[in-house]
Symmetry: C2
Subunit: 188 residues, 2 copies
């Protein structure tokens, strides 16, 4: 079965700072037409940052769409001035945590909710961290704190429903998986 | 540090079929004001469905926001007529796969991208599946096929970049983790 849909027209509804909204008319595989509400959103990077005590870095911040404080892995939109998703992540780890890391690897890349939005996230792993003395400033409208959590603490936070962010829940599962597989820092 | 932000006003830009967009003016922790572009989106359910051959069910469909075919776990928006997220998932497993399952458990719930959107997803695990003879119809604008994949096949699809959907990548990691932890069907 040919599942492809074809765009016939697109009406832009809104062009914002971090997202655009349009309503697209498409041709379905059976020849009928339908509409799709589509968000275009800047791509982002996130990181599983593990320190020498085998703890993961999370940041606490207010999320207006769900009107609650969240615990999330360090992450941020990729700026036009960032040379790459990894470069963006190194900048964010500095801004949000005040750290640099000597070991980096790519974990995965994915679309956060491709049914309505093109937001793409690049997820990295890093360790061998050093606290920076010359931490970069956060954005003017960005307020957050950061702290370290062991896997047991993270599992408790998950079980009690304190961690509610998809990429962070995925990141914890990836890290647990690395530990279960017997992946150690000296395997690198 | 108090990180809470307070909504001062909200301007609705668009009210659609699956999402609404508004621009909110908020008061930051330091007393300054800023704006936030906020999407309200219906909640959804998704499922890790494993058959007796230890294969996972994925559906293939066209995703207009990223203009490509994706492989994703069965999932769908929770309808007002669904009694619960689990009830919605049972309906979707019937519509998208044509199956019913005798064993169900809740895996987690999360917001897909809480920085700009309130879309919440409820993730379930199920096994002990039976093919239905009275499969429900898909929505009129929904076209998809479904198939079964072993963990090795899924890892290859991940490695080659064929699977790009966040909840599906997370679901595969959860399932791998269950297998690594020695979780067997007879542990239930």
């Amino acid at each position: 079965m040919d599942l492809k849909e074809t765009e016939i027209s697109s009406q832009q509804i809104f062009q914002g700072r971090i997202l655009d909204l349009s309503v697209r008319t498409i041709k379905l595989p059976n020849g009928e037409t339908a509409t799709r509400e589509v968000i275009k959103h800047s791509p982002a990077s996130g990181v599983i940052a593990i320190n020498d005590e085998q703890k993961m870095l999370l940041v606490k911040q207010w999320r207006e769409p769900i009107k609650q404080l969240t615990l999330e892995i360090p992450a941020g939109l990729i700026d036009p001035t960032d040379a790459s998703p990894l470069d963006a992540m190194k900048r964010e780890l500095n801004e949000e945590g005040g750290y640099k890391a000597d070991y980096w690897e790519k974990v995965s890349e994915f679309y956060s909710s491709p049914g309505f939005c093109d937001e793409k996230m690049y997820l990295f792993y890093c360790d061998t961290l050093t606290k920076l003395t010359d931490k970069r400033s956060l954005d003017a409208d960005e307020f957050l704190t950061s702290d370290w959590y062991s896997l047991d603490e993270l599992k408790n936070l998950l079980a009690e429903g304190t961690i509610v962010d998809a990429k962070t829940i995925y990141a914890i599962t990836v890290w647990e998986n690395m530990l279960l597989s017997g992946r150690q820092s000296d395997d690198k």
